[in-house]
Amino acid sequence: METQKDRQKEAATIGVSSVARPGAVPLSTKMKVKGLKAGFGKSLVLKGVDLDVPDKAVTAVMGPSGCGKTTFIRCLNRIHELTPGAKVEGEVMLDGENIYSPRVDPVAIRRRIGMVFQKPNPFPTMTIYDNVAAGLKLNGVKDRKLLDGVVEKSLKMAFLWEEVKNDLNKSGAALSGGQQQRLCIARAIAVEPEVLLMDEPASALDPTATAKIEEAMVELKKQYTIVIVTHNMQQAARVADFTAFFYLGELVEFGETAQLFENPSKELTERYITGKFG
């Protein structure tokens, strides 16, 4: 059992702002999580997590079921608190501003931090076009030219444009599961968030569809800071620059993906990676 002090020391030693990837410039921190505790009613799911999310990179959050990784990511855009009985404590800084400060409007925060969910959830009453434009339209944007441009750009970034460009007025629900999920990615990036949270975005998809999502992520991280929850270690190894390993509501280890997989500093991480549990 490590103490708060140990964890802080550890965070300092692997502090991402000082980590330089080979051949890359040092990354700055986009989001800084401090002492994050969260849960439902009396049960605590996250037991105090500190983590720095680096800017314009993919950070993977992995761990066995029930380790709190989904709750963690849902705290990053204040979606967690929408569930009745949800509790949050601690700080989440976005560019140095605590998003849990009482002076912050959660609706405005969610504009800046987008989310893609585990199961594809396009709006069933809307066309493909309207799904992508939804975030802007619901916030009052009416300029058709602007919307047209955003829809095309977003669908291209989500690698879906070629497949749907002639069917923009068809229902989003008529697409395949993998296409629906890319539609949801397009919908999320259409409002141009700074951070994109992805909660196991490929867990309901087949390998081909998964590959397309991962391909899109590699493109997206050029513009966005991405945090992806996954229970799939191969996926973390493929797409993530940094990986955090959660276990029983605590952050066990966080570092560069290659380092974490090849040379984990914690025995628990090593046992998980080698498939001894989880």
């Binding site: 855009n77 979606i79 929408l82 009745p84 009985g85 609706v107 405005a108 925060i109 969610r110 504009r111 800046r112 987008g114 989310m115 969910f117 199961k119 959830n121 396009p122 709006f123 069933p124 009453t125 939804a134 975030g135 619901l138 916030n139 229902s171 629900a173 949801c184 919908r187 999320a188 409002v191």
Partner: protein, 291 residues
């Protein structure tokens, strides 16, 4: 060739029981729908002969004078149901949204329960209540009182169906919208209600059908009227009231007209229910179940 498996000892008995049960179930179905068919046949047989253009457009004639129609009752029913809808639909939908979207609120639990009680209330009691509160207060039987009484019948139906159909909208759609930085009320109006709109529509139609056929709440409120009313603060005729008044009268001509009015009312019910069936058919096609 494989050897045939010997039949279990009780196989023949099971076959017989199966047949007997099938016959019983078919019999139950026939008995269940027979009353509806008999009523439809009887009402059509007795009501159809009096239906003609005058029946729909003319004022009632005095007893003994042939001809005439029930126009004031048709117009009265229409006005009072419209008035009741104007009151009940916004209130019912508002309450339904509250029950569905704020289920954890104390007030929501309590009012949801009272809504259930109200839905089961004997409609004659609603009529007496409105008599005391509106008729005695205004000093006159009136269309307004009738509309209010019908609204009280409609509100719980609209509220309950609104709640049920909004609850069917997956939570993930609300989250998807909120995650785009859309406020809660816009999420409810533009995503939740839009997705569940067929259910809302169904509830509205069902409540209108119910209100159009109610007699008891109108007895002490709208009272009935032989002529067109000159305003909402006058007694007003309505189809169910007319059926009641003409049906219990000793005059053959009035009784025949009561059958005609009954046929008209039954056809209206059928049309509304058919409309509901047609919407319900498409109701869930666009909502994937959340598992």
């Amino acid at each position: 060739m494989m050897e045939e498996t010997p039949l279990p000892a009780n196989y023949r008995r099971r076959q017989l029981v199966n047949k007997a049960m099938t016959v019983l179930i078919y019999a139950a179905v026939v008995i269940a729908i027979a009353p509806l068919l008999f009523i439809l046949a009887e009402v059509a047989y007795r009501g159809a002969p009096v239906l003609n253009i005058a029946f729909f457009t003319h004022l009632p004639t005095p007893v003994g004078v042939p001809g005439g129609g029930i126009a004031p009752a048709i117009v009265g029913s229409f006005i009072m149901v419209a008035l009741a809808s104007a009151i009940a639909i916004p209130i019912g939908i508002g309450a339904g949204i509250y029950f569905s979207e704020w289920p954890e609120a104390r007030l929501s639990t309590v009012s949801s329960f009272t809504n259930d009680v109200l839905a089961e209330f004997p409609s004659i009691v609603v009529g007496i209540f409105v008599y005391v509160v509106v008729v005695l207060a205004t000093g006159t039987f009136s269309a307004l009182a009738g509309g209010i009484a019908l609204a009280i019948i409609m509100i719980p139906i609209v509220a309950r169906t609104t709640e049920e159909s909004l609850k069917l909208v997956p939570k993930s759609l609300r989250e998807a919208s909120m995650a785009l930085g859309v406020s809660r009320w816009k999420t409810i109006i533009r995503i939740v209600i839009t997705t569940g709109r067929a259910g809302l529509f169904t509830g509205i139609l069902l409540s209108i059908a119910r209100a159009a056929g109610e007699t008891a709440p109108l007895l002490f409120t709208a009272l009935g009227n032989t002529y067109y009313s000159k305003g909402l603060l006058q007694p007003m005729a309505a189809l169910p009231l007319l059926i009641y008044q003409y049906g219990v009268s000793p005059f053959a001509d009035w009784q025949a007209k009561a059958w005609g009015a009954a046929l008209l009312l039954v056809l209206t019910m059928l049309a509304l229910n058919l409309a509901v069936k047609l919407t319900v058919g498409r109701r869930f096609s666009h909502i994937r179940p959340e598992n």
